[in-house]
């Protein structure tokens, strides 16, 4: 494919009566009418031209993720207890502590992974959902790139969850010093899983669907 070719001249599977399997990527010929209950001849997965109910599923998962996201940030995720002091940490206070006592580089990484990435995921997915729904051809290459970014960075938010798990298992010196997980970490873990599911259920082909009239 040479770069000189105009983007809108490139053939799309739907125009050629082809359909690609989501699981094994086999190129299949699409039967003329209903493609709803067709199975891939190679791997047996259901064939869809677009992921089924992608708007409904993605919105639902995103909403659920947001409902988990609020307690994940406001509730403490970890309790550190020593002889004369009990301290509950939220995600943000953990970053602050790391910035002051530990290493600023790591604090930036944790800040990006735990605070910026989840927020970015919400913003990007909402933008993609709304713009695709409006069938606009605005900034299509950029939107495609945003989608890939979200897919790529999504799971790095689990960082804080693993930190809490490790510290809770390590810091067990009875009364002298202890670390325990608090409910915030559960909400945070669920936020990450739900946003990952949301970005998986979004069909990036919708970004490009403005150039044809079918669905």
């Amino acid at each position: 494919m040479s770069g000189a070719e105009k983007v809108h001249v490139l053939p799309r599977a739907a125009d050629l009566g082809l359909i690609g399997c989501h699981v094994c990527r086999l190129v299949c010929r699409q039967p003329p009418e209903d493609a709803d209950d067709m199975a891939c001849p190679r791997c047996g997965s259901a064939l869809h031209r677009r992921k089924p109910a992608t708007y409904t599923r993605t919105w639902a998962l995103l909403l659920a993720a947001f409902m988990m996201y609020l307690p994940a940030n406001f509730l403490p995720i970890m309790r550190t207890a020593s002889l004369n002091d009990v301290d509950d940490n939220t995600i943000l206070s953990g970053v602050k502590e790391l910035w002051i006592n530990g290493s600023a580089d790591l604090a930036i990484i944790v800040f990006v992974a735990s605070i910026m990435v989840p927020m970015l995921k919400f913003l990007v997915l909402v933008t993609l959902l709304i713009s695709s729904h409006m069938r606009t051809d605005w900034a299509q290459p950029q939107r495609a790139r945003l989608y890939r970014l979200v897919e790529f960075i999504g799971y790095w938010s689990m960082l804080d969850v693993f930190v809490v798990a490790l510290l809770s298992a390590l810091v067990r010196f009875n009364v002298l010093s202890r670390v325990e997980p608090l409910p915030g970490v559960i909400f945070f873990g669920l936020t990450v899983v739900l946003t990952m599911l949301a970005s998986m259920s979004f069909d990036p082909r919708l970004i490009w669907d403005s150039r044809d009239s079918d669905d």
């Binding site: 490139l10 047996g44 689990m158 798990a165 002298l176 990036p204």
Partner: protein
Amino acid sequence: MSTTSLEALQICEECDTVHRRRAMTRGEVGKCACCGATLEHFHSLNPNTMLALVFTAFIVFVQANLWPIVTLGLNGRHSSTTLWGAIITMWQSSAQVIAVLAAATLFFFPLVKMLSIGWLLWFARQRRCAPGFVPIMVTLHYIGPWTMSEVFVLGALVAIVKAKVYFDVVADPGIYAYAVLTVLITIFARVDMRELWDMRMKDSA
């Protein structure tokens, strides 16, 4: 439509554009001309090399799970943990959701991934189709995005830095094994599943 056979075509997963497949040269990456998504890589590793890598990864994985990851010291007392130690602690401190998540993404999924790719390659190098080929390939497709060993390595690093303020910290063999495992997983996660699928097509034909 032209007379091009379907095997010679590929469809971009992200924008539905149809491309002709072509042979890749070393270091080449095929990108979609429409949306820029990666279509295919050049693969320099044959099934034998790949199998050796998977086998190495399996040995390292066993080490990573057997040895403690970090040891903390406080006033002459010591405390250390393995991955399973952390998972069990989470289960017992009423964070069972996290325990299940960690067990799945750090232990079971990576293990299933390694064993299944090893199984498929073992048969592929004998030019045979592995028993259970289709369900294994479909399982691999679905667990693909859910392995998080590399996040765990970074998490261990953050935990060490946080603990260093209050305790004596010693990094144990487990963390090194995990770091090596991350590199190995990154290499064999790039195995092109389509090549395996295509290989099977030829055999059964």
